[in-house]
Symmetry: C2
Subunit: 468 residues, 2 copies
């Protein structure tokens, strides 16, 4: 066991660096035993390091005894080993490894951390495309087994790629916004009063009282706007006590939130948000092409398409498209999930984009703090954004006038006492502002064309799952 | 009220851009009325935009009537106004404004958002250095008044600077780690079992069961290491149900967390973490000099000093220094807060640094998962880092062997059933690893030489405060 006894000079070479440029060099490598196969006086190992792997050969001869071959053949899969070996060019490409032109001729092998003999799932099964598994009668791994054994499932090339890309989404989001002059803020998650009337909120025991988990950072973002930060963003957990067991709902997810003061029109904000998403899409396609292709191997999918500038449709236009496709919907009716999906297909056909903005929602289907449209009292200055026909952002111009906010709250039957602090935030001069919240897991899922947010949440939380 | 009626072409000029280069130009500005003072047929306004302000003059004449002067004089402080005016060079510098060489001769003025007439606190009082306030018998604002009216308190130049710098700390932390090849992860905050025995943990009602709020992301960071991500970081809320009412404890704070697999010695990790902090300090001193000076005006403080490479002392060395200074302490005794502070002063005197690492803590004072020192069973491979004599990071090599981890848990009297999932994470091959967690509010406070984490948390949470 490595307990930090020593600081040896030994250099460990990365598996990805094992190429013909290192031919005939003696190197040390630390990697996992992905597979091992004994064959007479030889043992072939595949050594894996993250998404890379190389073939290693232990053969009876000058450097290896019969015992050593036996020892190597018996190392449990997923154990971590330190191997000294000579890099040898091979005549025939090794198709099953990422390092196809070389193999490692092992001289020494030590087990650094031994895995238990029985793995709860096999990595090769976990990366097999479902269709292929079915056709060939071979095993795939179901979602609960994956999630129950997430430490192993996250080692697959697909999982490694998904979460590296997700890290990239956060990075691109912040990079873009900081370049646009936004300030990152940290908002509290434990709050004293359930916002928006108290539905779907988790209760926390807070010393001798009760408190709640924030369902969004919105109030705090808005307070920062009233405090003159002008353009703010935050990334953090969002909690929803909804008993929804769908492919796109989690009880805890990561919100990428934006709020921004504007001069004259909330479209100034809509354009900034849409451009931020476009910069994310472009950055992903530029910097994470390997990861996208890795995920596509297991989950084939069309490349994500978007327009510049982003397509913006008004709600009434969308209604017309749906009605033309035979859907019956009232003017002030919200979109159902199947209708959202259908609309996504219609928009894709007509405009060839997987990303668009739906603007001017009916006032009746939006929260009380949504600014009504000045020209049409049944509409509102609010919008959703969609990727592949699923909502990834909901936003609006917020009412910044305490008088109108009070009226709208009363209209919605909300207890004014419970939102007093919220309304009071606007009493000392508030700039017009708008914003929105993006779901990180949904963006990751839909960009990659995956089918469940549990694939894009490392440790998902839903009504039935709280572990690991 | 701006309800997004129109999209006018009018360009709004930033207050910070009002310089002699714009002399004699007609401009539109949106800003807050910081002060107004009527004087016969004239009214002098100070218009403020974030940390910048400019003098504006409304005078009876071609462009302004008597009524307009009166109107301007009566606008409540903190209201937001749109002003059209001519930029005029002044003969004598205006000492009370950031824009000292020009003033604005107002032609039109509109109120965009009216503030209520009585402000709960005055911004000028809120930025006054405490000593000056006392000496001159002038008002300062106490902490609870500030926090109760945070939307106004955050508008001061000091608050604007503190939280812009804090945004910078997060940005530099991530920028440095992404350059070092780290992956950002998102860890769940709602967990099924209270880690570390269940003390100081908040309970959440989770549908029909109970759940808990994570006291740190450590288990999840470690699971990511076991899942081959090798180097991970996360930024997120950390919850501690401690009834501590001190200057440096919050019940919810922001953790900057790092975890990293290493090859041979945990000092590889210690060096990466220390270098990350050094890059943050350097970045702040380079990019946020204006903010640092703004805060210093209200809270004077010596510049933050650090060495490269970072000073690393062993615990036994620190004990010797404290004993030499007359403190009586046992070899396996933890540092008290006053002794930490004293040690900070001794280290500053001897080494001239405000930042250092204290390594090799007694095993007895560290959590069960801390790796024992292989050479001295009473010591451990663990460390804290200090800024200006206060702890900002705690970390260690973690035990990655399930057998030893079980032994140590039993030794600490921990119920194995409760930490089964944790121990099981290491059963399928685990690389040696170490990490640590940094408190964002503490780093901000100590870098700026402030005296309370409530000054560096936008919306602080403690046993007595849950609002706003």
């Amino acid at each position: 066991m490595i307990q930090s006894q020593d600081k040896p000079d030994r250099v460990l070479v990365r598996v990805s660096d094992l190429t013909v440029h290192k031919a005939d060099e003696v190197v040390w490598v630390r990697a996992r035993v992905h597979t091992s196969r004994a064959k007479g006086k030889q043992c072939f190992l595949v050594l894996r390091q993250q998404q890379f792997n190389v073939q290693a050969l232990v053969a009876v001869g000058d450097h290896a005894s019969k015992q050593m071959v036996k020892f190597a053949a018996n190392i449990n899969k997923e154990s971590i080993v330190d191997v000294e070996g000579v890099v040898r060019k091979v005549n025939q490409k090794i198709g099953s490894c990422t390092q196809q032109d070389v193999e490692l001729h092992v001289q020494k092998i030590y087990v650094i951390s031994l895995a238990e003999p029985r793995l709860p799932l096999q990595l090769d099964d976990a990366v097999r495309p479902e269709v292929e598994g079915e056709e060939e009668g071979r095993a795939t791994v179901n979602q609960d087994t994956r999630l129950d054994n997430r430490v192993i499932d996250l080692r697959t090339s697909t999982s490694q790629a998904v979460f590296r890309l997700q890290s990239g989404i956060c990075h691109l989001f912040r990079e873009t916004l900081i370049n646009k002059g936004f300030v990152e803020i940290q908002t509290p998650k434990i709050i004293s009063a359930a916002s928006e009337g108290g539905a779907n909120v988790f209760t926390v025991s807070y010393f001798k009282n009760n408190a709640y988990l924030a369902q969004s950072p919105q109030l705090y973002k808005q307070m920062c706007i009233c405090a003159d930060f002008e353009k703010v963003f935050c990334i953090g957990p969002v909690f929803r006590a909804e008993d929804s067991n769908t492919h796109r709902h989690l009880t805890e997810f990561v919100g990428l939130d934006i709020e921004m003061a504007f001069n004259y029109h909330y479209h100034e904000v809509v354009e900034e948000i849409a451009d931020t998403l476009v910069q994310i899409f472009k950055g992903l396609q530029k910097r994470f092409q390997t990861e996208i292709q890795t995920v596509n191997k297991q989950f084939p999918c069309e490349p994500f398409k978007f327009l510049e500038p982003t397509l913006r449709l008004e709600y009434c236009e969308a209604l017309a498209m749906l009605r033309e496709a035979g859907i019956e919907m009232g003017d002030e009716e919200d979109l159902s999930t199947p209708n959202e999906k259908l609309l996504g297909r219609l928009v894709k056909e007509k405009y060839d984009t997987d990303f668009y903005i739906l603007d001017k929602y009916p006032l009746a289907v939006r929260p009380f703090y949504t600014m009504p449209d000045p020209r049409n009292p049944k509409q509102s200055n609010s919008y959703d954004m969609f990727m592949r026909g699923e909502e990834i952002l909901s936003g609006a111009q917020r009412i910044h006038d305490p008088q109108l906010l009070t009226e709208r709250a009363l209209h919605h039957g909300i207890d004014l006492e419970k939102i007093k602090a919220y309304i009071d935030s606007f009493r000392f001069g508030a700039p017009p502002h708008a914003g929105g919240g993006i779901g990180l897991e949904r963006v990751t899922m839909l960009f990659l064309g995956l089918h469940n947010v549990r694939q894009t949440s490392m440790f998902p939380r839903d009504p039935k799952r709280l572990t690991p």
